[in-house]
Amino acid sequence: MARISVQTGNFDVGAEFAALTGGRTDIGGIGCFVGTVRGPVAAMTLEHYPAMTKRAVTDIVAEAERRWSLLGCTVIHRYGRLLAGENIVLVLAAAAHRQPALDATAFLIDWLKTKAPFWKKEEDAEGATSWVEARVEDDHAAARW
């Protein structure tokens, strides 16, 4: 049921929204999260573990579907070099009511940040690079679920 994609190219939030909800009348709410590259970094390069990533994301989505009655779900995560302002990740979760839609969306992005094998390298305007360090706040956010 869920649409999961790990890709280099951008995604169209409107098109993904329409694909999730088109022709349906059972959905009462859709949670949406879009993560983007925040300045002042000039760019970010995301590396991932291809053999593991799809499975890890699929497992995270399955856990969301186990916890909430979702009527649809979309997770798209980009990798490669992304410029400031570009999209990184999209999470859509559709349910009959707002609370499961919003909670599942927050759960999905919290777990993606801490349990999917992606690594970010930041690049400043001079081209100097540094690996982003994992934040303990993200572990706490993931642990609250």
């Binding site: 573990y49 053999a51 499975r55 801490t114 349990k115 999917a116 970010k120």
Partner: protein
């Protein structure tokens, strides 16, 4: 047991890849290397890049056959073992 001699595949990501200078390699450690922790101890003896990559073991995460694992996880011939920093996606 035909696969006893099968090598392990070891993958390195992010700064572990940079410090080891290696993205992927096949290794055949001694038969008594049966856990991730023992494999790390064996790998760090192979050169300064590996020693540097694993200098702070608490900053290293691992997966065995694409599942998150830990130093006590059992490994054997033919397994795929990956080393990487804590993940920072999303």
């Amino acid at each position: 047991m035909a696969d006893v001699e099968a090598p392990m595949t070891v993958l390195y990501f992010a700064w572990l890849r940079e410090r080891t200078g290696t993205a992927q390699e096949s290794v055949t450690p001694p038969a008594d290397i049966t856990t991730v922790g023992a494999l790390i101890a064996w790998l760090v003896e192979r050169g300064p890049g590996f020693a540097s990559a694993f200098a702070n073991r608490r900053a290293v995460r691992c997966a065995v056959n694409q599942e998150f694992a830990d130093p006590a996880t059992h490994i054997g011939p033919g397994d795929e073992v990956a080393f990487f920093p804590p993940v920072t996606g999303g």
